[in-house]
Structures are given as structure tokens and as C-alpha cells.
């Protein structure tokens, strides 16, 4: 595996656009990869979020009271009919690695659009320098196939929500790698 793509293999020596393509090549290398958006930022924010900031303080009190009442109602409803809990995992997937790190994925039911929300709980991976992340991938035939997002870890255990907007039957495993590499640190196999 090479770390810098060989420009001379990509662009022929006689290519009339060689100079400007070289400039673009260099800009790509210096820019680095754009960051992955977390699930919380995948959709544009609602404009209503701007209104909240200018509400008078007393309105916050009213909102808090309504929220408290809603929580209480939810609690009653949960106690009465808690058998159909929508956030119950439909599948739990365990992952292990050579370094003693472990992870588990609690996969929730897919929504109508085909998103499989999940909660990834990971322990034992070393925290990375600022800006560096780990990635969760679905694999097929032992190769990285589709990314399910990136995340950072703290010392101890980290729990993070991720999403797999794919048909999971098309894949045969899960791995965690350092973003930008293909070396599995944790895997299901």
C-alpha cells in the first residue's frame, strides 16, 4: 500500500493538462480527507432552532414544565405498556481484537428509509490525538465495504450512536479501523 498516490501513474507525461492536474493533486494531499459527518449532522438543522435562543427566560420555565409533564406521561405509559419498546436492540454483535479491546453493537430496528440505528460500546481502544478517529465498517469477503461512521474514544468505555443505512444481508462482518487505514483493530471474526 502506498501513502501518496503516484501522480505519474495517474497522469500521462504528455497530458496537456498535467500542470493544473498536478496543482490539484498537491491541494488534495495538503487538504486531507473531509471529516465524516456524525448522524446528528447528516440532515440540515431545522430553522426553528434559531428561535429558541431568543425566548424570554420565563418561557424556558414553561417549556421545562411541559417537558417534565411529558416525561411523567411517558413514564406512566412505559409502565403500563412497556412491552413494545421501540429502542430495544434487535441484534447484538460482539467484536474482539488482539490488543484486548472489545466492542459490542446494539442494533436497533431499521426505520422506513432503511437506516439501522445502533449503539456502539467500545472499551480498551487507546484515545487518539485530536482530529484522529476510528471508523466502523461493514465488510464483505474480508474487505472494507461500507462505512458506518467515525468516532473518537476516551479512556475506559465509550458509547456512541452510529447508523448503517444499508441492506445488512449484503455484508458478512464488522470491523473497527483507524480512519484512513484498513487494518482491523476489532472485528466480528
Amino acid at each position: 500500500m502506498s501513502t501518496v498516490p503516484p501522480f505519474d501513474e495517474i497522469v500521462d507525461g504528455a497530458d496537456p493538462e498535467r500542470v493544473r492536474l498536478r496543482t490539484t493533486h498537491d491541494l488534495l494531499l495538503s487538504a486531507g480527507p473531509p471529516p465524516e459527518l456524525p448522524p446528528s449532522l447528516e440532515a440540515a438543522p431545522a430553522q426553528q432552532s434559531q428561535v429558541i435562543a431568543i425566548l424570554p427566560r420565563r418561557r424556558y420555565t414553561a417549556i421545562a414544565a411541559v417537558a417534565l409533564a411529558a416525561c411523567a406521561l411517558f413514564g406512566v405509559g412505559y409502565a403500563i405498556g412497556g412491552r413494545d419498546v421501540p429502542n430495544e436492540p434487535v441484534r447484538t454483535i460482539a467484536m474482539t481484537g488482539d490488543s484486548g479491546a472489545t466492542a459490542s453493537i446494539a442494533l436497533l430496528a431499521a426505520d422506513a428509509a432503511g437506516n439501522w440505528p445502533m449503539s456502539l460500546e467500545v472499551s480498551g481502544l487507546p484515545p487518539l490525538p485530536k482530529g484522529k478517529t476510528y471508523s466502523l465498517w461493514l465488510t464483505r469477503g474480508g474487505k472494507l465495504a461500507e462505512s458506518c461512521g467515525t468516532f473518537a474514544v476516551a479512556a475506559g468505555t465509550t458509547k456512541v450512536p452510529l447508523n448503517a443505512p444499508y441492506r445488512l444481508k449484503r455484508f458478512d462482518g464488522w470491523v473497527i479501523v483507524r480512519t484512513g487505514t484498513k487494518v482491523p483493530l476489532l472485528s466480528t471474526a
Binding site: 500500500m1 490539484t24 495538503s30
Partner: protein, 181 residues
């Protein structure tokens, strides 16, 4: 691409008319560049993600101030983003550790840092314009460290196809970087 892309400037003008669809299109183009800029300036991922929300709230509020005569839409979004991120930093400055007195700083100058931020922004924005087939080979070649033959194997396409897509992706990026963005 088979159809010409609506310019950023045209989208901003529609956002000024409160068109949600245009706002979502603009968000799709700029969410990752904005997050990249915020990560670069703030460092902390959680705060950077918060600032993305702040940037797009500012875009929604300020779209009517966009004047196409003063520059392309991408530069306007960059200015809004930079100012919102600076506001975020002012509210809660990042913790700093003092350098040892004898140490010689090798950090880039503010001008160098500004130029690097701008170039990174332009590249990340330009990447969003690539068709999926070209985006995949560019990502794998430049950001995953795969050789051209590894990409061919990974994507199950001939090596010649990988080279053609990489070259055409570079050319398309060059067009965008030399154009409006």
C-alpha cells in the same frame, strides 16, 4: 455530471427567500467543509459539531445580506462560517499550554494558517461536486492510501477504469477549484 449544478450564489438567494429546499441543498454541499474548518480552528470535535449548527443558523439568518456582485457564494459561506467559528472560540476559548520560554515556534503564521484553511475548504467543497464513481477512486487513492491496482481490486473494476476515473476526477476538481468556489 449530466446536468449543470445550480450555483451556490443562486442557492443563497433562494435561502434568503426562506426556501427550505435550497437551504438543504446548500447544507449538503457545505456541511463537511464547515465541520472540517471548525475542527481545524477549534480542535474539539464536540464543539466543532456544535459550531456547524451555529454556522448554518447564521447562513439562514444572513442569506439576505449576500451580494453576488461582491463575490461567489462559496466565499460568502466561508466568511459566515469563519466568523461563527471565531464567535464560538471567543465564547469559550480553547485551553492553551504555554510554550517553554526558549522554544522556537514552528507553528504556521496566521497568514499561512488562513491560506491553508481556505485551500482545505475549497478542496473539501469541490469534492462534494464529484460524481460518486470518481469520488470513490479519489477518496481511496488520496485518503485511504490504496494503490491504483488495489483500488481496482477493491472496487472490482479494471485498472484502466480506475486510472481514467482518477484522472477525470482530478480534472473535474481542477475545473471547480478554478471556477466559482
Amino acid at each position: 455530471m449530466s446536468t449543470p449544478e445550480v450555483t451556490d450564489g443562486a442557492l443563497i438567494e433562494r435561502v434568503a427567500n426562506q426556501e427550505r429546499e435550497a437551504f438543504e441543498e446548500l447544507y449538503g454541499r457545505y456541511a463537511r467543509p464547515v465541520l472540517g474548518l471548525a475542527l481545524r480552528r477549534i480542535g474539539d470535535r464536540g464543539r466543532a459539531e456544535d459550531s456547524v449548527q451555529e454556522v448554518f443558523a447564521a447562513v439562514w439568518r444572513s442569506a439576505s445580506s449576500y451580494d453576488p456582485a461582491r463575490g461567489p457564494g462559496g466565499a460568502w459561506v466561508y466568511t459566515i462560517a469563519r466568523n461563527a467559528i471565531i464567535d464560538n472560540l471567543r465564547r469559550r476559548p480553547a485551553p492553551t499550554v504555554a510554550d517553554p520560554p526558549e522554544a522556537v515556534s514552528t507553528s504556521p503564521t496566521p497568514d499561512e494558517e488562513a491560506e491553508a484553511s481556505w485551500n482545505t475548504w475549497r478542496v473539501h467543497r469541490a469534492l462534494e461536486t464529484l460524481p460518486a464513481s470518481e469520488r470513490a477512486v479519489i477518496d481511496l487513492a488520496y485518503f485511504s492510501g490504496l494503490s491504483q491496482s488495489e483500488i481496482a481490486e477493491f472496487l472490482h473494476v479494471p485498472l484502466g477504469t480506475v486510472k481514467t476515473r482518477t484522472r477525470s476526477g482530478l480534472a473535474r476538481l481542477a475545473d471547480v477549484l478554478e471556477g466559482e468556489v
